[in-house]
Every structure is written in C-alpha cells, then in structure tokens.
Assembly symmetry: C2
Homo-oligomer: 195 residues x 2
C-alpha cells in the first residue's frame, strides 16, 4: 500500500471507489486461504502418489500356473502420472513455505503473487494432463475396448483398479485446487489495481 | 511506450519506478498479442478437431473377410478430446470478439482481464486433460501393452494413428497457448498495480 503521507495517494483516495482499497486484513485472509489451499494440494498429491505406488496386486490369470502382478510401472501413463504429481507435491511444499513467509513479510506479497499465478498455471497443465492420461488408461482397464480387442483388467485386478481410481480422483481434486489457487492469485492482483 | 508529451506521465516518471507505469500503447500491444494468441488458439483447436474427426480408416484385419474401420468414436477418450477442443474452439471465438471490442473500448480492459484470466485457466484444465487422455490412448495404440495383452493398433491403422498423433500435437500447442494467454492476463493485471 502507498504511504498515507504520500500526497498523490491522499488525493486519489478521495476520488477512487472504495473497492480499489485493499485493507491489510483482506490481504491477510487471502494469504491464509492461499496457505490452506496449498496444504490441501500437498495432501492430495502426496496421498495420490502413495495410493498409486501401493497399488500392486498379484492374481492367477486364466491359463497360467503362477500369479501375475499388476503394477503402476506397467503403464507409461501411470509413470507419467506419478512423476507429474511428485513435481506438484514438491512445488506445493516450496509454495507453502513461501506463502508463510509472505504472511510475516507482507511487502513481498505483490512480487510473489505474480510468480504464484505463473507457476500455478504451469503445474495445473501438468496435473490436468496426468489426470487425463491416468483416467483414460484406467477407463480402458475398467471397460476394455471391443473394437481393438483390449480386454478388461479390473475384473481380475480389482484392488489395483480401486487404487488407480482413488488416485485419479485425488489428482482431480489437486487440479481443482490449482485452478482455485490461480484464480485467488489473479483476484488478489485485480483487487490491488488503482487505475 | 507512452508519449513523451503526456505531462501526467512525465510527472509520474520522476517519482514512480518505471515498472509501475502502464502507458496506453503497452496496453494496446498487450491486447494485440492477446488477440493474436486467441486466433492461434482458434486455429489449433479447429484443425485438431478436423484432423481427429477425419481420421477414419478401414483395413483388413487378420482372420476377417471384410474391412474393419477405426474411428475416433471407438474410444471414449477421443470423444472427450473432441468435445473438450470444441468447447475451447467456441471459447476462442467468443474471446477473439471480446478482445477486439476491448481494443476499441480500452475502458473495459480491466474488467475483462480478470474474466479472461479466470476462464483461460479453466479451459486450460479442460484442454490439458483431453490432451493427456488422447495421448495415453494413442500411446497404447502405438506401443501396445504386453502386461495386459493390449495389442498395437498403429501397425494396421497407420493413417488413423497419424491423424490422432497430429491432433494430439495440435491440442498440446493449444494448451501452451492457453498457458501464455493466462500469463499475459496476469502480467497485464500486475503491470497495473500502482502500490
């Protein structure tokens, strides 16, 4: 905020509508919501990774004498999914720390708002594409595809598929949180416009 | 850049750091880049839809006396892909018109910047997830998956796969354009902050 002793600011304050003023409490609330959303992002991505990585299941398959395992590493889409969520999880840890720093040093707020808005959008692209990829492969596993003779997998590997479905749902939540974070950063910038 | 004959701009230039000033010409340049990117988004999504929809190919498959077709409608991921890109294409048409309106009525700039930043992020989530879904299914079609006996499709349906690959690449370009658009809107808001 401009200093109240600044004559130019004082002159403007009488002519601008009230919505241009951003009280410190509003910014503080924004920062707290920001940190809360980033903690939610961290939790969602971490649990999604754990659920996907622990999805291994071994079952007897028709015609084979030994159990065959199903792992997430068997599908490149699931490997990409885990890698993308690991990046998002690491990003959320860094931004939680930076957001907490901003709460205690509000002068850094404006600069970090821009960086957050930039990076949130990039990480959203990553998480959304990973969710789409994992969801598409999981859907083929669940329903199969009779046109190209791709058989259902989930009738045999039920626990594996439950893990994959839960992990994909959590990634979807992470993507929604990233959309909200990006909107919050943009709205915070918008509220600070004086002209 | 701002006209050097503008007395208000000249007065401010001596007291405020240069980055706080947003000369009208800068805004105008931003709007032109915005329209150009939206036209690129429109082209990429439209061509991607056309390429995907025209991907049908019929071939003789081993053991069958008649040709079997491969269409994008055979995969729910490709249907979602076309639907998502259709939404993005329609959105790009609306925003091109609004952006052109904003160039002629700069007073509307601030309000629409916020709406653009909000909606660009949502459409990015949609396009990125559709790209991920189509890419994952296309990859299985190209490489198959020996763990679950999903056979390669692209060795038979080469033209179909080329269409799908081109369409996915165009969707990736559309997603990158949406990231740039979102960053441009955010940066325009940032440049207008005066405190």
């Amino acid at each position: 905020m401009a200093s109240s002793t600044d004559p130019e600011f004082a002159a403007k304050a009488t002519t601008l509508p009230p919505k241009s003023d951003v009280p410190p409490s509003w910014r503080s609330n924004c920062s707290v919501v920001d940190v809360a959303l980033r903690v939610l992002l961290f939790s969602a991505t971490l649990v999604a990774i754990i659920v996907m990585v622990t999805s291994e299941q071994s079952e007897f398959v028709l015609g084979l004498p030994v159990k065959r395992p199903a792992k997430f590493t068997h599908s490149p889409a699931f490997i990409y999914f885990v890698a993308a969520l690991a990046v998002a999880c690491f990003y959320s840890i860094i931004t939680i720390l930076v957001s907490i720093l901003v709460i205690f040093k509000p002068t850094l707020h404006k600069k970090f708002l821009l960086h957050f808005a930039f990076w949130d959008v990039l990480i959203l692209g990553l998480v959304a594409s990973a969710t789409g990829a994992a969801g598409a492969v999981a859907y083929i596993g669940l329903k199969g595809n009779s046109h190209v003779q791709w058989v259902k997998v989930c009738s045999t590997y039920d626990k594996f598929c439950q893990h994959v479905a839960s992990s994909t749902a959590l990634a979807l939540i992470a993507a929604v949180v990233l959309v909200l974070l990006s909107m919050l950063s943009t709205y915070s910038l918008y509220k600070r416009i004086r002209d």
